[in-house]
Symmetry: C2
Subunit: 429 residues, 2 copies
């Protein structure tokens, strides 16, 4: 396939006008200003359109899409205890499959190509992501409130089975991450056992909630005499590439640990604001040389999967929190949403438009009034655009969505089944 | 025209399913669950669609759309001195017309039906709004740095002429507001003269920037021994219905003044965050019984005109600023964006879907994955939707936009002319 006369944001965040990009198989084979020689099959007329990397959502819980708008205007503990936990208690394989597929549909429509997705019923999640043709780093998160030996937990067995059966499945689109849910939902022996397992298998990302709320952060210090980041590091969980979600209350010393260990921060600006947890100082994360990616968190606390929205809120949230309008430039924000996420998922050949890279691409309609005038296209992209302006999403060279049409998902059936599964759970409450 | 089998949010924020609404002339003549008798001309099949009030943007500077993305990552004074003021110095009648028309196109596409629009070259703004078929409350804001008698200012004459020639023009779609730009950009004699003029004409809204930044708020106290709100009230500017934009640093006493005088607060959450001014405590504004409306502010500091985005950021910004996830319910937010804005513009027959009201309506596509499941439609509308999901915008019963097509605006020409005017100004800098 050849994209022609299209605007391109390349791997250096240069904007190429009237440019060309060729896709062959699952790879981008050419990016440049001249038409490449050869026949690439379909030619896509890119006038008024932008070709860019798809988004890599670095922290999500896709099945929770079934709880969109279900628990509003509640304090965190009431939200969890009266809404989320009772609903989750009735989840099953069927509900998780359709909830994940619904999340994949919204993600694909809004330009997300890959998701770091932490939850349970993970085989059903993997099935939905595979059916959708999308990518995901799926993790079965461990919790342990029982004092039980971690290796005897049902979840521990599920985690091992998941890794063995699904890691690099679907031609590598599915990766299996490991996950300790968080310090406050587990105990030191579980952290230690998981760290041992992670070092043993060696190639899985460790995905953990870190310092999302002040309470969590301070109670960890009271319990262990150290911050969650220091505790997790001492347990050995950062001895493998890790993804620390939220990090709203991380200290400078925590960020130094992340830098030393190559931990990426996945900031979730909308969810953290909506749940009134706080604002992660993402500008400082970057200043201290730590990798930054962006997550939506779950739809239950967002309530959408639109990385354009997430980018804008990340930028303006950081500016107001620091009272410094100069922090978080549009290029920094765009890099976090694309390359930053791909790196955090260990998808090193993804996340930018470059010859030789994987064809995880989106086409955005930039012809509308909201995208003009164009003093700077990347400024407009970060602050004036919307997921609803995505007109094509391609993963590994395969078109999953184009002009309102889903190519891999039966959208009416997916919405119907997701609603049905939701209603079935609500009837049990 | 008859909307049939459509979902409707009515004036009490009830959600009616499979409902009907009739529009005759510029009015809504029926809203209900049964098909009304009679022939209403065109029948609109509303399956998968929502009919609701259009949005009333309570604070904007439309011509500044020409500066979209022009001054990013700058501290406020650098932004003003190196970008905004030099650009504005070269604005002319042509640039303002096309800039305003471009803003109207984006507004109409995203579901905004009416705008409280403060700037200069106001006759050109009125011309653009009239050509677009939209509504606006336009004000020629007064500044006075010279000590000159206010009545001798060119702007004062322009303001009087504007009121005389344009107030209630275009079948009432254009209203002329009065405006003192702000306390810090004028002097007491100008405030006094404007208050006298406002009382004399009696029926114009007073639109003023109030306590947008901490510096502005504190310097006013240093200068006058009172807050901007108290100063403006003492000058008599709130003796007529008034619209106070921003109010980020207003005190409880300021809110008491607003309540006593019937002043509406126009909060601008995205702009205030992006310029790092702060977060207006809109929940407290409501708690103290003060009217609340929502503005986008200018595209130069937003950088879009999407009230869905504005609603979401208003809610989550207030939650995080108060560390209270329970504040600002979706219904409160939606009311501020619709009825609240209409009231602030003294458009008392607008802002809700009710028989007898003006037909300022939008149709939103709610069939997509981002709007399911539906635990609560208004939650989904405020948190999961986008201006890009608006599929029809109607003002006074006239369709201005439908399914990507502008009915009153030549969109290609408007973008071309706005770009050309912008480039012409940039060449002079």
């Amino acid at each position: 396939m050849l994209f022609k006369n299209i605007t391109i944001i390349d791997e250096e965040y240069n904007v190429l006008q009237d440019a060309f990009a060729a896709v062959e198989g699952d790879k981008i084979t050419y990016v440049g200003s001249e038409r490449p020689a050869g026949d690439f099959g379909r030619e896509y007329d890119g006038r008024g359109k932008l070709l860019m990397s798809g988004f890599y959502n670095a922290h999500a819980h896709s099945p929770m899409t079934l709880m969109r708008g279900y628990g509003e205007n509640l304090k965190l503990q009431d939200w969890l205890n009266t809404r989320i936990f009772p609903f989750e208690a009735h989840l099953d394989s069927n509900a998780v499959y359709w909830g994940t597929l619904l999340a994949m549909a919204e993600s694909i429509q809004d330009g997300i190509v890959s998701t770091s997705d932490m939850y349970y019923f993970c085989e059903d999640m993997a099935r939905a992501v595979t059916d959708a043709g999308a990518k995901a780093n799926i993790s079965r998160s461990l919790t342990n409130f029982t004092g039980q030996a971690p290796e005897t937990l049902e979840s521990y067995g599920e985690m091992q089975k998941l890794y063995k059966e699904y890691h690099n499945a679907a031609e590598g689109r599915i990766k299996i991450d490991l996950s300790l849910h968080a310090e406050y939902t587990s105990d030191p022996q579980t952290a230690k056992a998981l760290a041992d397992y992670a070092r043993e298998i060696g190639d899985a990302v460790m995905h953990i909630h870190v310092s999302e709320t002040r309470t969590e952060h301070e109670e960890c210090i009271a319990r262990h005499g150290k911050t969650p980041a220091a505790y997790l590091n001492d347990a050995g969980l950062f001895d493998v590439p890790a993804l620390a979600a939220h990090c709203v209350y991380c200290t400078d010393e925590d960020l130094d640990i992340f830098k030393a260990k190559g931990v990426t921060v996945a900031t979730n600006p909308i969810s953290n604001m909506k749940l009134a947890s706080g604002i992660c100082d993402a500008a400082k994360v970057l200043d201290r040389g730590v990798g930054l990616a962006i997550g939506t968190d779950s739809v239950a606390s967002n309530n959408s999967l639109d990385m354009f929205e997430e980018m804008k809120v990340l930028a303006i949230g950081n500016k107001v929190a620091r009272l410094a309008p100069e922090v978080m430039t549009p290029v920094q924000v765009l890099a976090a949403a694309t390359t930053g996420g791909a790196k955090a998922q260990k998808r090193t050949d993804c996340g930018s438009v470059k010859a030789g890279g994987r064809a995880d691409l989106i086409v955005v309609d930039i012809a509308g009034p909201n995208m003009h005038p164009v003093h700077n296209l990347i400024n407009n992209l970060v602050y004036s655009c919307s997921g609803k302006s995505v007109v094509m999403t391609m993963v590994d060279g395969r078109i999953l969505y184009e002009d309102g049409e889903f190519k891999t998902i039966d959208i009416e059936k997916t919405i119907y089944e997701a609603e049905k599964a939701t209603e079935s759970i609500l009837r049990k409450l």
